[in-house]
Subunit: 132 residues, 2 copies
DNA sequence: AGGTTATATCGGAAAATATCGAAATATGAA
DNA sequence: TTCATATTTCGATATTTTCCGATATAACCT
């Protein structure tokens, strides 16, 4: 199989996963740190980290380290492939994505250390409850 | 998870697979019957059939039955989602896809019954040899 | 009807992926 | 240094996907 085809397939695989797609769409309005993403989407922080690894491998997101925090953002529009732009446009119209972004605004209103410590302490039970 | 998001993920999954993506791209220039696809791509007929089932489920291709043959085509451009159009545009520039299409032209130059009977008789060994 | 042919579905083993808590790593603060 | 904290990686299991030969189905032809 040619590399070109393989690369395209890998990029498509990276986003054919609910969490990864939500994370990517969540980042479009602007960067977030890992714990903000985990808190916004109410998923374990390790799952977010793994999702981000795949998105990075696919070339969809960039990371910026600031102290202990890792801020993640979608690659600049100028470098974004048509595939990525199309995806973001499509995803950006989904109600669930909009709801995620709204939640992110609330999370961003809280100081990061507070969000992070909350995420670290959260258990499966906590997440189940807060999803009601 | 919302239905919208689920649907998008399912569509992306449908094409994040080398064979399915190749089949979809192969069909863009015009319809082909199942055995023509199998012969062009040198894969078992059952694999093509399964790939087509997924592409149909995703709403990317249509089928037209003519006697014993099933002709498959990409949905008309007018009904095609931006996602599908973007994919076809991207895939259509890949060398491997162009090579597949060139091979399809050769296959189309042969009468369908001859192609079909050849596909039905083909064994793994045959396919391995002809891929040299 | 019986035979042939094109396609679809099945079976089931191997490979890949998902999930998430626990442990490891890395950075900063005291 | 030692402690605390944010993130990554690991481990282990569960689930899904892939693959293809074999079989079933459907349609045509005598």
């Amino acid at each position: 199989m040619s590399d070109d085809l393989r690369t395209l397939v890998e990029q498509l695989k990276a986003v054919s996963h609910p969490l990864r797609l939500r994370v990517l769409a969540l980042l479009e309005p602007g960067e977030l740190c890992v714990c903000q993403i985990a808190e916004t989407l109410q998923v374990p922080q390790s799952s977010v980290s793994e999702a981000l690894r795949e998105l990075r491998r696919a070339g969809f997101v960039l990371e910026r380290k600031e102290g202990r925090w890792v801020f993640v953002s979608v690659v600049p529009r100028k470098q974004a492939s048509p595939l990525l732009k199309g995806l973001l446009a499509h995803a950006g119209s989904l109600p669930e994505v909009l709801a995620d972004r709204a939640r992110a605004l609330e999370v961003k209103a809280v100081a990061i250390p507070i969000v992070c410590s909350k995420v670290q302490k959260s258990s499966p039970v906590d997440r189940a409850v807060s999803r009601v």
